[in-house]
Amino acid sequence: MRSDRLTTAPVGLKIAAAAGLLFLHVPILLIFVYAFTTEEKSYQWPPPGFTAKWFAVTWNRPDVWEALTLSVKVAAISTLIAIILGTLCAAAVSRSKFFGRETISLLVILPIALPGIITGISLRSAFSLMNIPFSTWTIVLGHATFCIVVVYNNAVARFRRTSGSMIEASYDLGADGFQTFRYIVLPNIGTALLAGGMLAFALSFDEVIVTTFTAGQQQTLPIWMLEELVRPRQRPVTNVVAMVVVLVTLLPILAAYYLTRDGDQVAGSGK
């Protein structure tokens, strides 16, 4: 047993760590309180009273529904593209060494390594140079580009843990490449892909910087929120939407955590 298991943390460290975690969570929890406030005009604290009526008001706002629909649509298409491209890339990079391999991993990471505003303005100026009108697809182009890396990271990690000897055994037993993929590779990487897909969905659902450049007049939910932050119309509705967004993004993240948590126990991981 390693000796560091027996020691307990100094009090100062405990306090600093707890304070840090509180700092990370209290602001998000505050949103939940504000969603029920009766105050309409200001950010007044403490709330003068509590009501659930803003949920009904939000439910009846067509602009919120339109923004939500567009967000879900964009996130779904981008995730699908990212899963396909990210998996292909991960499979190629993890299965063999080839010239330019480092360059390709850099290329995948670049869209999130460089600030989003660069991706955004590049795409926008390219659209205007090529006279491409703004549409759902221009948003998808941007989102899929930076979602690839999330799927890629998850898939590459799982490919590395998947034993090559299992694939060889499959070939030895007479399966062809497609059968091997269907019965050996896919079941092994499935949960990693699902997790990567969920994170990609959350990433796209939340993206605002690139979207401001590629959306034109359309509003995704984050663009709607940004608009409300800059020019508030009905503040309590923003509070409710903010709370819903927190819940909608947290669920896929929790799911992704549970899917990749036991990654070490994947069959044939003794590579």
């Binding site: 000796s3 560091d4 943390a9 460290l13 405990k14 600093a16 760590a17 840090g20 990370l24 969570h25 602001p27 998000i28 505050l30 200001s42 950010y43 604290w45 491209l85 292909l88 499979a91 190629a92 063999s96 390709i104 995948v108 869209p111 390594a113 460089l114 600030p115 505003i117 660069i118 991706t119 303005i121 590049s122 795409l123 100026s125 390219a126 899929a144 580009t145 070939y171 037993l173 007479g174 399966a175 062809d176 490449g177 497609f178 059968q179 269907r182 994170l199 959350a202 939340d206 605002v208 910087i209 984050p222 929120m225 940004l226 932050l229 800059v230 903010a242 967004v245 947290l250 993240i253």
Partner: protein, 321 residues
């Protein structure tokens, strides 16, 4: 696939050979792995190459164009005039302001992140470990705009912070702080202090995770050996822990620094009217229609990040990612 599933159902381990196109294709891939590799890489490389690199290069190209001051039209002749405009005092101010903010945010994030990362790496076990992990991942992945909005609620004049300080009879402290030049302002939500707090908050998880990864590789008995040899906790931290955590801190700083350099939402929502690089780029390409100068501005974070990544590589930060 029917033969395959039949074979699996019948319990036979060896699949019968299939004929047909798929099998021929599979054999071709087996004989020529390069072909398969090529086919696998083509779609992602085409997408990233055309959509991303293509537009990035087109943008960089436009930074060498200039804008005609009288007509407002873009003059498509190669010139370094636009880069010269970056050196104007007003534009230098924007760049210096952004880089200083990015550096301050990075240092503060490292200070706040370290205890969390250290506790999670060294003392948290089992359930607590999972709790710490999720405790960092959930804020990292939850909506960026919601987080900014939450801070608007906290920092606003009538918000929770003013209320809390009032209850503690510390209102004078806030007023004194806000009366300071540059970092002060009318309220925290329209000051550089507010911008700074929100930046630190939003990027903090990006700092915690790499530091934690670096600290997890430090054996606990190294700390004990240091104590056995008579070092005080401060000396242990300075001479043992900090040097070993440094690659992780540098790795985290890549994120905090880069993200601050490019962000324009936070200074727009929580900040005063003085621009950061991101806001300058946004307004130049939008209302001003000056794509060349906007493009030249984006080269600044690219160059700064290029230098930063090069230095980080030499410090071994990439191993800690």
């Amino acid at each position: 696939m029917s033969t395959a599933s039949a074979a699996i159902q019948s319990g036979s381990a060896v699949l019968p050979r299939r004929g047909g196109v798929l099998n021929a294709l599979s054999d071709a891939f087996w004989r020529n792995p390069r072909l398969l590799l090529f086919l696998m890489l083509t779609p992602p490389v085409l997408w990233l190459g055309i959509v991303y690199l293509g537009s990035l290069l087109a943008l960089l190209l436009q930074s060498f164009f200039s804008i005609d001051e009288f007509s407002g039209l873009i003059n498509r002749q190669f010139t370094l005039k636009t880069y010269g405009e970056l050196l104007l005092p007003s534009n230098m101010d924007i760049m210096i302001r952004t880089v200083v903010m990015a550096a301050a945010v990075t240092v503060a994030a490292a200070i706040v992140a370290f205890p969390i990362a250290y506790f999670a790496a060294r003392y948290a076990r089992g359930k607590w470990k999972a709790l710490f992990y999720l405790g960092v991942m959930l804020p990292l992945w939850s909506s960026y705009l919601v987080k900014v909005y939450a801070w608007k609620l906290i920092l606003a004049k009538e918000g929770i912070l003013t209320w809390a300080l009032g209850k503690l009879h510390l209102q004078w402290l806030l007023d004194a702080w806000l009366s300071l030049p540059i970092i002060g302002g009318n309220s925290l939500s329209v000051s550089f202090t507010g911008t700074f707090i929100v930046f630190v908050y939003v990027w903090l998880p990006f700092m915690i995770l790499p530091i934690q990864a670096a600290l997890e590789r430090v054996p606990g008995n190294l700390i004990e050996a240091s104590a056995d040899l008579g070092a005080s906790p401060a000396q242990t931290f300075r001479n043992v822990l900090f040097p070993l955590a440094l690659p992780g801190i540098v790795a985290g700083s890549i994120f905090t620094f880069s993200l601050t350099l490019g962000d324009y939402i936070i200074p727009q929502i929580i900040g005063n009217s003085q621009y950061f690089i991101g806001q300058a780029v946004y307004s130049l390409q939008g209302t001003a229609g000056n794509i060349p100068l906007a493009a030249a501005f984006t080269v600044v974070p690219i160059v700064v990040m290029g230098l930063y990544l090069w230095m980080a590589r030499r410090l071994g930060a990439f191993d800690a990612l």
